[in-house]
């Protein structure tokens, strides 16, 4: 176990360094000019050139990268070229929003997906199984900006059960903020449930047809006892990796939902800064997202090994 951990932990900073270099090179090639974006098209070339110099954009690329890396490592993430606010608060604030929405969606996702997967697995090839599988497939197949739109029209505009924008007024309590997050979270859950449920269904079917369940039946245990004691644990453990994949998507991938529900998440910031070539913000967002992405990958692998006794020890050969 520890060998796996150290190897993966060592890989993280290396990969993040590679990502930051790639991002630097990418923005160099991207068209457009951040100084022009700040001053607008009607400002004179002279003032645009003057701003470029003050932002240090005219220095050589390696110099700028070294400069950025030196300060970034010491916690000074610089100020956003366009929004002129400290990048750290901006990115971490936006990340906080994304994490809140992702966590809320994840909390809804886990019980629903596991429940449906188990139900489908236990009624293998019966109508409930077919319905759950097909509906899961269908919802998983529909882009989130489509389901989101439909949810908005029905629940926000017509029925007015939930607010249309996911952004509560500043300073609102957690409950109010969650109320604003219901619709975006539901549209994410609809998207991700199918994938997780399918994995849980597969492991449930495997558990039901396994020798140890047959042996338990042969010892006179009733179906409900068998399910409760043996099937439950053995079918939910493998779901961790499927949940892990969805967790990664929930962090970096929910930009369309952020946009649709007007929610200031980190995904939207990432693209906005990429288009504006606002380098400090883009770098910080890419590195933070990358770090989070890899930590989740590692967390999933570790929990998977911890939960499944067979993999607990580092099995050699």
């Amino acid at each position: 176990m520890t060998r796996l951990l150290t190897r993966r932990l060592v890989a993280i900073p290396v990969t993040l360094l590679a990502v930051s270099v790639l991002v630097f090179l990418a923005t160099e090639v991207l068209p457009g000019d951040v100084a022009r974006t700040v001053l607008g098209r009607e400002a004179s070339d002279a003032s645009v050139a003057d701003l470029r110099r003050s932002l240090g954009l005219d220095d050589a690329l390696p110099v700028r990268y070294a400069h950025w890396l030196g300060r970034f490592v010491h916690g000074d993430w610089g100020t956003s070229y366009t929004l002129k606010v400290p990048v750290r608060e901006l990115v971490l604030g936006r990340l906080g929003n994304s994490l809140l929405l992702a966590a809320f969606a994840f909390l809804l996702l886990v019980p629903i997906a596991l429940g449906l997967g188990l139900l489908a697995g236990l009624h293998h090839d019966k109508p409930t199984d077919r319905v759950i599988s097909v509906v899961g497939l269908a919802l998983g197949a529909t882009p989130e900006f489509v389901t989101g739109v439909i949810l908005l029209v029905v629940f926000a505009v017509q029925l007015k059960w939930f607010p249309a924008s996911a952004q509560a007024n500043p300073g609102a309590g957690l409950l109010v903020r969650l109320d604003h997050l219901v619709l975006p979270a539901v549209s994410l859950v609809l998207l991700c449930t199918g994938y997780v449920a399918r994995h849980v269904r597969a492991s449930t079917v495997a558990a039901v047809e396994s020798p140890y369940v047959r042996a338990a039946e042969l010892r006179g245990a009733s179906r409900s006892q068998v399910v409760r004691r043996h099937v439950l644990r053995n079918s939910t453990v493998p779901a961790t990796s499927a949940l892990g994949v969805q967790a990664q998507f929930l962090i970096g991938g929910l930009v369309a939902v952020e946009l649709l529900f007007n929610y200031p998440g980190v995904g939207a910031l990432l693209l906005q800064s990429a288009v504006d070539k606002d380098l400090p913000t883009l770098q910080a967002a890419a590195v933070v997202l990358g770090l989070l992405y890899m930590l989740i990958m590692l967390l999933v692998d570790v929990t998977y090994r911890l939960l499944d006794p067979r993999l607990r020890r580092e099995v050699h050969a």
């Binding site: 022009r36 930009v255 946009l259």
Partner: protein, 531 residues
């Protein structure tokens, strides 16, 4: 299949494709003076009966792409927020009439080169320091200093330069111009949106120290979510504003705003896209005509548009009412390919309005020796709809248009003297915000040395006529010059103007009253009150 760890993090539609959908171009909302001073200034029409006090107005607007800085701001949201906090010398009413604000009165010596403004007495900044001529002079010196990189520099270009502002006594400011300019009051009015009056010691970070003389105080500002403002007790317009405060919420795009309006999350919008926001349920739209437009500029200095006939063929190929219908929800006015909007007093009315004429197009093209015309039209997202309309209409008359959409930062990026796409591509669409003074379009766009002359059109006769127009003291002299300029442009067609965009502002009629539209989406909530 659903195991879609799909790697794409779809972006914020807002900036790339979406910004276009906000109709008004955020990047182009520069505005300046309008028609000469009319009858005495009058407050906004007082509401019927005593206005109810109190209540917080919740307003939606797209997040400003840059920081909140009055000196360099250019987008509608930043301008709107600053206008709630700071004042101008002169305000511009929706029909471009000049309304005295911090300037009590103003007058020009004969020849329109020296202008004196008397500053209103008894006005204090929100931190208590009284307003005086020194603060006004400091505000304009700040704009004129190239170090501050203000967009206002281009508005004053060739008219007022650093050092042209002097004091006389404690409450009078004198502006000495480089050349006669009869419409000068418009340049120091709200028409030149950067020209807000700030304290002399303003150091640049407006979001942190938002001191102004306006009706509201800026309490909090967050670049991602929005701003909260409260009544300014020291505001000089006694009894105003009626509201307790204003809460500004940033929206990714107009569709999210429409939903918020309808579901009651919002009471009004600062910027309203006419093709998206519709009057349904409690949402109503206040409409005004304006002088904003999207110019179809053709490079007159090289093929295929070096021949006048080819340019005219394009002009005759366009179905202008169809354009008005498709991209401005029919609230615009037809353009006639010269830069005098109907709203301008000096606009000539006797030039025949061009209309789609397929035969004339064929005849013009054959006379220019061009049998099959095809060209590439470059534009950025805000003009996407108009580009599609042009492509389809021109196809009906056999002209093939290839579309080349660039991101806004790419379209306006690059060197304005050599290669920036919006000034150097063969045919392009550039959206311009409403202007109060025709010469603000004419001078930069069609004069030989114009700083934004995308068509590279150079006609000394037109240059002379414009100088004469600016300097003209009387209205008939002004009309005569306008006639010359208009007919020349109508004939040579370096820039095709199919419609002048109207302007709307949506609000919830059951919540607040006194919310008015404005050609340049300007914001004056001082007389807004609860229903």
């Amino acid at each position: 299949m659903a195991d879609h760890a799909h790697p794409f993090t779809p972006s914020r539609r807002g900036f790339l494709a979406g910004a276009g959908l906000t109709g008004l171009s955020l990047l182009a909302a520069a505005c300046s003076s309008g028609t000469p001073p009319s009858s005495g200034a009058s407050d906004a029409t007082s509401p019927t009966g005593a206005a109810k006090r109190g209540g917080t107005l919740r307003v939606g607007t797209p997040a400003p792409p840059t920081s909140l800085d009055p000196v360099t701001m250019y987008d509608g949201s930043a301008i709107g927020i600053v206008q709630l906090v700071a004042d101008y010398l002169i305000w511009l009413d929706p029909d471009f009439t000049l309304v005295p604000r911090l300037a009590q009165s103003w007058s020009a010596e004969p020849g329109n080169k020296v202008w004196t403004f008397v500053i209103r007495k008894g006005v204090v900044f929100s931190d208590g320091t009284p307003l005086d001529a020194k603060a006004v002079k400091a505000s304009f010196d700040r704009l004129l200093d190239p170090k501050n990189k203000s967009a206002a520099l281009s508005a004053f270009d060739g008219i007022l330069v650093a050092g042209g502002v002097s004091l006389r006594g404690t409450d009078t400011v004198v502006f000495t111009l480089e050349r006669a300019f009869s419409d000068f009051p418009y340049l120091v009015s709200a028409g030149n949106y950067n020209a807000v009056i700030l304290k002399s010691d303003y150091a640049g970070n407006f979001a942190k120290s938002p001191i102004g003389t306006g009706p509201f105080l800026l309490k909090t500002y967050n670049a991602s979510t929005g701003a909260t403002l409260v009544r300014n007790p020291k505001h000089w317009q006694t009894g105003k504003p009626y509201l307790d405060g204003v809460q500004v919420k940033f929206y990714a795009d107009s569709q999210a705003e429409q939903l918020a309006l309808q579901s009651g999350d919002l009471d009004a919008l600062i910027i309203t896209d006419p093709s998206v926001i519709l009057a349904t349920g409690n949402v109503v739209l206040d409409k005004v005509s304006g002088t904003a437009m999207t110019a179809l500029t053709l490079r007159a200095d090289k093929a295929p548009f070096d021949k006048k006939e080819v340019r005219q063929a394009i002009a005759y190929a366009l179905d202008r009412p169809g354009v008005n219908q498709s991209i401005d929800n029919n609230i615009g006015q037809l353009g006639n390919d010269h830069l005098f909007a109907p709203l301008f007093k000096a606009a000539p009315t006797d030039i025949a309005q061009r209309a789609q004429d397929a035969d004339k197009v064929k005849q013009l093209l054959s006379s220019a020796g061009v049998d099959k015309l095809s060209f590439t039209l470059t534009f950025d997202p805000p003009s996407k709809s108009y580009a599609l309309v042009i492509q389809d209409q021109l196809k009906q008359v056999g002209i093939d248009v290839k579309l080349d959409q660039r991101s806004s930062s790419e379209f306006y990026g690059g060197d304005q003297a050599k290669d920036t796409p919006w000034l150097f591509t063969d045919a392009n669409l550039v959206a311009w915000a409403g202007r109060a003074v025709p010469s603000q379009f004419l001078a930069p766009m069609v004069t030989s040395k114009g700083v934004w002359n995308g068509s590279k059109y150079a006609n000394p006769a037109l240059d002379a006529a414009l100088l004469a127009y600016d300097a003209a003291a009387s209205d008939d002299e002004r009309k005569k010059q306008a006639e010359i300029i208009a007919t020349t442009l109508h004939e040579d067609v370096p820039v095709i103007i199919s419609i002048w965009n109207g302007s709307v502002r949506a609000y919830n009629k059951t919540k607040f009253t006194g919310i008015k539209a404005h050609p340049s989406t300007y914001v004056d909530f001082s007389s807004v009150s609860r229903v």
